[in-house]
């Protein structure tokens, strides 16, 4: 299970997290808030491996939010709040690592960590969800001419016995 969660977090760092990845991360975070620390370290390792310069500003914000889990957790936090928690864990690495795949030519100076990153990460996440849907639609359309892929339709789930 833990491997799965870490994989999902890696996917999040790479800007490839699916809806299921995000839900998995949130569930894990509910069970074990300490994970935030692990992820912070993981994000640094990944960023270092990718050759990015890691500026450790996420740690500070992590300490600020450490008091959070003393209070009883809210039954349902908004997606934005959860996302921002994860973005904090990832610290600056979120921006740098996602940027490696998702080029943002207009904003070369987004390496300033903080709330803006969280917003940016969420905006990116939403843009990516939309892009994923477009990629899928394209693959389906392309299969009629070049036929490279079998595209499963996501319209209906049937449980089979």
């Amino acid at each position: 299970m833990n491997d799965r969660v870490n994989e999902s977090f890696s996917a999040f760092l790479d800007g490839e997290a699916s809806e299921v990845d995000i839900q998995r991360l949130m569930k894990a975070l509910d069970k074990n808030p300490e994970l935030l620390d692990d992820w912070h370290r993981l994000s640094q390792v990944q960023a270092a491996m990718a050759g990015d310069v890691v500026v450790d500003v996420g740690r500070q914000r992590l300490d600020d939010s450490a008091g959070d889990h003393v209070e009883p957790p809210a039954p349902r936090r908004s997606l934005a709040k959860r996302l921002s928690q994860m973005a904090v864990a990832a610290g600056v690495a979120v921006v740098v690592v996602i940027g490696a795949r998702w080029e943002t030519p207009q904003q070369p100076d987004t390496q300033v960590a903080g709330i803006q990153d969280v917003d940016a990460a969420q905006a990116r996440f939403e843009a990516q969800q939309r892009l994923n849907s477009y990629l899928r639609q394209h693959a389906e359309a392309a299969s009629y001419s070049s036929g490279h892929a079998v595209v499963p339709s996501n319209l209906q789930w049937e449980a089979s016995e």
Binding site: W102, T104, Y134, S143, N154
Partner: protein, 312 residues
Amino acid sequence: MKRLLLVIVCLMSMPAFAMEWQWLNEMRSAIRDMSYQGEYLHRRGDETSVFSIAHATRDGEAVELLQQLDGSMIEVLREGDRVVCYYPKGSEDLVDRAIPAAPFSQMGPMQLERIAKSYRAMAMGEARVAGRDARVVSLSADDWRYQHKLWLDKATGLLLQSEIRGQDGTVLEQFRYTRLTIGEPVSDQALQPSLAKAQVRQQTQYRSEPEQPDAGGFVTEPGWLPPMFELEMTERHTGSDGWMEKRVYSDGLATFSVFVEPAMDEDPMDSQARMGATHAVMQQQGDLMVTVIGEIPVETARRLLSSVQRVQ
């Protein structure tokens, strides 16, 4: 004199031209009508996956079972136009991904005349793939498109390997059989999905030819298209959060889709992604948010994207 030269050149190139296109024609029917079993590898960028395939005809219809051999155990059963995908429990997140099938296995008749308008077919000698002798054919075109290279079985015409290559010759996507038997009877057992009885999730899809494209009522259009690409499919949605217009173009081999929607007020975000030969570019263009996705070079995608405008 010039005209005479042209005639001579035509006469010299005609037989070769006809032969290579004939192979491509045979390839399409071999993929659909022959019986074969084996394993293939699909590489897209740095992602590789391996599948087993069993293909036969039953009651005049092609039946095909694909099984992913690495990663999650996914099975796809195709019977005529019906496609059923089986996923093991816990792999719901894979549902969104397209499953690579053999190139050209999903499409109708090859539109060779149309492909010949943009691509030049050339015999490139012979090679061995999956223990079989193959003819190599390259399909090359202008700089707006990628090159394709196909390895066709000498004995049966079946596609043994295919590659999409960039202008510099880099292999962007590869499909290749590693093991293959052709022409031997395929048992019913081999066409039976093993996940069908287990606790799995499955989804069924019927493939039907898309409707005729109709861009009437569209408020945007691309002002430029790479030569020989034709409109294949259109879709327009309107909802509470605005509208979205989709156009799909193809030259018979390569396909790209253009998605246009009104831009949001939030800070504009330019995104670019690449998976193998597929480029995706998302960019704000005036008051429009335009996304171009296709098996085309990024320069083509960018030029297309910047040409999208409101209909005057």
